[in-house]
């Protein structure tokens, strides 16, 4: 059904998604057991971001390992320049997120710290893996839809992750105006958890899809589900 190269890539996709499905819920579980779940918006929760950053970095090393073998020399030449460029780009994206979140309704004069943390999280979950995998130029092209990408590749997974993360954060805002008066309706907890939830959901979907695809080899009737999931992905 798919070529060897595709097969290898699929395996990478699956494993990295699985890792996400494990490490992200564990982080959330641990902080909720520590009773810190409702303080995720504060700057004191920076360690969560550091953890996610490390995990994503390791994941991207894993995802890039093959690419490194092929284009080793070219990559090592301007490594430092690349890193500086990506850091600047990431900061820019973070600022864009910050301004965007405020424009779309976050408090203007207060809660800057919380908004900043949320925008860092969004940057970490959406753009950072993409940059780590492809580099700045390609990431920009991918983000703006100039360059298209085939289905069931690492890039497709990353773009889907990014989309669903933003959607999750977006949907998280729905609960804020409800009059339930619960502690977790504080800004930005629903959006923060929504972003994590969206990211997680995207990874779960990827794993499910790959599982179904491999199962469909044996049981052809399962391919209906695969087609269904393909439809679900936002068609460009």
């Amino acid at each position: 059904m798919f070529s060897l190269n595709n097969h290898l890539e699929l395996r990478r996709v699956t494993i990295s998604s699985l890792v996400t499905c494990i490490y992200l819920p564990s982080i959330v579980t641990v902080i909720s057991y520590k009773g810190l779940l409702y303080s995720v918006g504060n700057a004191s929760s920076l360690y969560v971001l550091v953890l996610i950053f490390t995990a994503e970095l390791i994941k991207s090393f894993y995802l890039n390992s093959n690419n490194d073998l092929q284009v080793k020399k070219k990559a090592s030449k301007n490594r430092v320049g690349d890193i500086v460029k990506s850091i600047v780009f990431l900061l820019g994206v973070k600022f864009c997120f910050f301004v965007g979140i405020i424009l779309f309704g976050a408090p203007v004069l207060e809660y800057h710290e919380e908004t900043l943390i949320l925008s860092s999280l969004l940057t970490l979950l959406t753009v950072f893996p993409l940059i780590a995998h492809t580099g700045v130029e390609l990431a920009v092209q991918l983000l703006f839809g100039v360059k298209t990408f085939p289905r069931d590749t690492i890039i497709a997974m990353l773009v889907n992750n990014a989309l669903l993360t933003v959607c999750g954060a977006w949907l998280g805002a729905v609960v804020i105006p409800l009059d339930w008066n619960t502690p977790w309706q504080q800004w930005p907890i629903p959006c923060y958890l929504g972003a994590i939830g969206g990211y997680l959901l995207s990874n779960v979907l990827t794993v499910t899809k790959v599982t179904l695809m491999s199962a469909a080899n044996k049981h052809p009737f399962l391919s209906i589900f695969v087609n269904m999931m393909n439809r679900l992905h936002i068609s460009k």
Partner: protein
């Protein structure tokens, strides 16, 4: 029946029918107060209690009292403290007066509250709608029983009292309550009588038995400036002085004087009232008497009482029986110390309530029976313990009965409700069909005319058969359900309604049938893009969100969320388009074929669309902070509060001036679409804007370097303003007809309005006599274009006249939002695929997005689904005295300014972009269909919700106000669509007149 469907105004008629169905629904939902019609008299007082006789009249007698009821409009609970009213606070502190928390029932508006205080019965929600009319009370009231007992009743203050209880006053002087901008004169009008009326005569008796003083000033300050206004404190001090004056005067009387000071309702921090927040519901009730009164409660503060308790208390003090429908109790502080009288009083009230409660098997009824037995026992033996037990039992049963009565006063007319909802449902179905039909491309609709022409007679017969069937079904439904509904009462008036309902069902049946038969090609709908789907799904989903009460209270949140999503989608789309454009341009000629297409897409908007759009998002972010609305976060300070504080007056004026000038420039820009005499139009528009600014200066909203303007009369300025607008319209019509040309005036300009013969080159036009040689349709189109733009300009100018100063900025914002959004929603720009015909889809998405913009700004402006947010102040701009219709029109236009402006903008765009007269009519037809469909869809869903939640706790505080808002919105939709209809009719009419008068003669 196809011509019905193709008829341009079918959906307007359907919408009007929906309005009628909604009226039926409201009738079923808000039953008008059912008066028992029982008039109380002294002979009703029981003389026998469980076989023990007692002289009722003698025991009931409270002695000679002069009662003063001082109502301070909008006095809320925290105002009756020592801080605001030092004298009263002092009295309460040393227990010379009693302070109660009296709980007003929603709706917290003046007229129902007065009714409740005087009749002692809980008023219904429908009273709000009648609040402005104030028809006389039909049932029994304190004033009627007092009059029957020959008491002298005197009234000074709000003339609502006089309208509610005409002919029951011995002396009165009313002041109009609706003129809210005045808050000193209204109170002076009351106070000036005090010295005279309080002076006792030679027998040291005051010349009245009941004196009602109603002070309006406090409420007016609240409406104008809110509960935190610096004017509140002096006003309350003034009220405190009045209390002091009365208190001192009472000491000189030889008679017992009783003073009740209370508010009729509270006020929100923002100043409005009408809802059900504690600040509106809880009002203080201060009781004091002149004869060495000691408050029986701790620290002078009694517990919570109902507002209806005022009625029996007053009646008893006046020596009159409690009014027929009263269900309240006598205030504890006033109850006599004598056990016999005390118990007798309780007995009278309990018996009264027990008679109103039909259920005799309830626990409180048994409690009442037991109390009665104990009372009889006390009367027979004089045992104090029996008296104590009886008192306890009476009080318990009274409390329970009062609770029961307030809970069960409403019964819904279920048959009418369900009937109205079904009709609305059918209407929504018919409108959906008509809308889908209208979304077919024109060519296809032409094909689908059926070949089989039925004769007129046969379709008439079919119509009557269906009519009979539906009438019969309704009739059977009436009898099967055995309903007591008025709808099935078959009195002449209701029979008409009944037949109308059957007719509506028939007509909708035929419309649905015909459209389903003729709707063949909906392929246009296959091309909807993601943003269209967002618009449609958002509109559909929004109605369903009302199942949660907080989504009604915080409806603005839903809209802000939708709007943000839409802006985000469009932002991403536009960025993608622009980036692709640059990428393609820089990557060179490799994709040669795609370039012209992209250039074509970009040419209409330009690259600047992205920064413009970002600026728009920022503007909306700012406007969202302008007015805090809804319910839960209402108390948060917003930009409007900041602007309205005195030290920021400069910024407020800047908002006002910038808003007005931007509106002026938009109006001048729109003049392009008017007739050839642009100079005159520009002059009139500039003068009108100058009038608006002068009005602002004259009402002290704006400082000016010319002090002379301050002395001008605002009413005259506004009259000049109306004159300018009307003359502009008349001038336009006259130019069109060609009157000026025949009079010899000719001005240069392009010939938009000139009749010419495009076919003149075929000199022998004798051959096509049938065909019109003149360019009538072109001129018609330009007249329609010009009329819609005049309408839009006038609307904008009127709205900036009515708006609060900080909200004036909304008017140009609506314009820019509409302009930019319709540019961005263009399917040619956003869709990757190329399509030939996107016109229909453009119209669909544009009408939806204009609806959204309208509702969005409705909330930006500070409106909400609570009656408290209605701005009464706007109703009195340029009026010298109260006139119900004008005030209602102004208030309505102010509240619904944003939907009106957005809709007008859409029709302007439709007229401006139309290629020819037919195309214009087509697009207007489609837009009207979409508007009507959205309105009726929302109504039907909301009616279902209202029926399902009719026993919900919040039904009177959340669901009913929303229903009223929906009703008003429907009325205004009908009105708006009628205006468009009128414009088209006017165009036809003036075209006809022009034909008759001028251009034939200038041949």
């Amino acid at each position: 029946m196809l011509h019905w469907v193709q008829h341009r105004w079918t959906s307007l008629w359907l919408l009007i029918t929906a309005l009628a169905a909604l009226c039926l629904f409201l009738y079923g939902f808000f039953p008008l107060k059912y008066h028992s019609g029982k008039l109380a008299s002294m002979d009703d007082l029981p003389n026998v209690i469980n076989g023990v006789s007692i002289d009722g009249q003698e025991v009931y007698n409270s002695g000679e009292n002069s009662v003063i009821l001082m109502v301070i409009d909008g006095l809320r609970y925290d105002f009756a403290t020592e801080e605001y009213m030092p004298f009263t606070g002092q009295l309460i502190k040393n227990k010379s007066a009693c302070l109660y928390v009296s709980v007003a029932e929603p709706p917290t508006v003046t007229m129902p509250r007065i009714k409740a205080m005087m009749t002692g019965s809980v008023s219904t929600f429908a009273d709000v709608a009648l609040n402005f009319g104030a028809p006389a009370v039909v049932g029994d009231s304190v004033l009627r029983v007092a009059k029957a007992r020959g008491r002298r009743t005197v009234m000074y203050g709000d003339d609502t009292w006089l309208r509610l209880f005409p002919g029951l006053w011995t002396e009165s002087d009313g002041t109009t309550s609706f003129y809210v901008t005045d808050y000193t004169e209204v109170d002076n009008n009351v106070t000036r009588h005090l010295d005279r009326i309080l002076t006792p005569d030679e027998k040291k008796k005051p010349p009245f038995d009941l004196l009602v003083l109603h002070y309006l000033g406090l409420d007016h300050i609240g409406h104008l400036e809110g509960a935190r206004s610096p004017k509140i404190k002096p006003k309350l001090l003034e009220m405190d002085d009045v209390v002091k004056k009365i208190y001192n005067a009472m000491q000189t009387w030889d008679r017992k004087g009783v003073l009740l000071v209370c508010g009729d309702h509270g006020m929100r921090d923002a100043g409005g009232h009408g809802g059900a927040s504690p600040a509106e519901l809880l009002v203080p009730l201060v009781v004091l008497t002149s004869d060495g009164f000691r408050c029986p409660h701790e620290a002078g503060a009694g517990g919570t009482v109902a507002q209806t308790d005022v009625a029996p208390s007053l009646a008893w003090l006046l020596g009159a029986p409690p009014p027929g429908d009263s269900a309240g109790r006598v205030l504890a502080a006033l109850l006599p110390p004598d056990a016999r009288q005390h118990l007798y009083l309780l007995h009278v009230l309990a018996e009264r309530s027990a008679r109103l409660v039909p259920a005799t098997d309830k626990e409180f009824y048994k409690q009442f029976e037991r109390a009665k037995a104990q009372f009889a026992h006390f009367l027979a033996t004089g045992q104090q313990s029996a008296a104590k037990i009886a008192k306890e039992f009476y009080e318990e049963s009274l409390e329970e009965m009062a609770k029961y009565l307030t809970e069960t006063t409403t019964d819904f007319d279920m048959f009418a409700l369900i009937c109205a909802t079904c009709i609305l449902y059918l209407l929504a179905g018919a409108l959906l069909c008509v809308t889908l039909y209208s979304l077919q491309p024109e060519a296809r609709r032409k094909i689908s005319i059926p070949k089989l022409h039925r004769s007129k007679a046969s379709s008439l017969i079919a119509f009557f058969v269906v009519l009979l069937i539906s009438a019969f079904t309704l009739l059977v439904a009436c009898f099967i359900t055995e309903t007591k509904s008025q709808f099935c009462s078959f009195s002449p008036l209701w029979t008409i309604a009944f037949i109308a309902a059957a007719m509506t069902i028939t007509v909708t049946y035929f419309i649905i049938k015909t459209t389903i038969e003729n709707t063949k090609d909906l392929s246009t709908l296959r091309d909807l893009n993601a943003i269209d789907y967002l618009l449609i799904i958002g509109t559909l989903f929004h109605s369903w969100s009302f199942f949660g009460t907080s989504f009604i209270e915080e409806e603005h949140m839903t809209w802000y969320f939708f709007w943000n999503t839409l802006m985000f989608f469009i932002l991403v789309r536009t960025i993608v388009v622009v980036v692709m454009y640059f990428a393609k341009r820089w990557s060179g000629a490799t994709e040669f074929q795609e370039k012209p297409d992209l250039e074509n897409r970009m040419s209409s908007v330009g690259v600047s669309i992205v920064p413009q759009w970002v600026l728009l998002i920022a503007l909306h972010r700012y406007l969202r902070t302008m007015n805090q609305t809804g319910d839960r976060w209402l108390f948060l300070p917003d930009t409007a509060d900041w602007l309205n504080s005195p030290e920021n007056a400069f910024y407020l004026e800047a908002h006002l001036v910038i808003g007005s000038l931007l509106t002026l420039s938009i109006c001048l820009w729109n003049i392009r679409f008017m007739n050839n005499y642009m100079q005159i139009h520009s002059a009139l528009t500039i003068l009108a804007t100058a009038c608006v600014l002068c009005h602002r200066i004259a009402t002290n909203a704006l400082v000016s370097p010319f002090p002379i303007i301050k002395t001008w009369d605002p009413v005259v300025i506004v009259n000049v303003f109306w004159g300018l607008l009307i003359s502009q319209l008349i001038f336009e019509l006259l130019t069109y007809i060609g009157l000026f040309k025949t009079c010899g005036f000719t001005l240069k300009g392009d010939n938009k309005f000139a009749y010419s013969k495009p076919k003149a080159k075929t000199e022998d036009y004798f051959y096509d006599q049938m065909e019109e040689p003149w360019n009538i349709d072109e001129v018609k189109l330009s007249l329609a274009r010009s009329l819609t733009h005049i309408m839009y300009n006038d609307l904008m100018l009127i709205v900036i006249l009515l708006m609060k100063p900080h909200n004036v900025i909304m008017v140009p914002s609506i314009y820019f939002t509409c302009k930019l959004t319709s540019k961005c929603l263009d399917h040619k720009l956003l869709d990757a695929r190329k399509r030939k015909d996107t016109e229909i889809l453009d119209i669909l998405s544009k009408s939806l997005v204009h609806l959204w913009i309208g509702i969005l700004f409705f909330f930006y402006q500070g409106n909400s689904n609570s009656l408290a947010s209605v701005d009464l102040g706007a109703g009195y701009v340029g009026l010298r005295e109260y006139s119900a219709a004008r005030v209602a029109a102004r208030m309505g236009l102010h509240a619904y300014a944003a939907p009106a402006l957005a809709g007008a903008q859409l029709f302007c765009a439709a007229a401006a972009h139309a290629q020819n007269w037919r195309g214009y009519l087509e697009s207007v037809w489609r837009v009207i269909n979409v508007f009507a469909l959205q309105r009726v869809y929302q109504l039907v869903i909301y009616c279902v919700i209202a029926i399902l939640f009719r026993h919900h706790l919040f039904v009177w505080t959340v669901f009913s106000p929303k229903l009223l808002y929906d009703f008003v919105a429907t009325v205004f939709s009908v009105q708006a669509l009628c205006t468009i209809c009128a414009i088209v009719l006017l165009t036809h009419a003036s075209s006809w007149i022009a034909k008759k008068l001028t251009y034939k003669s200038t041949l």
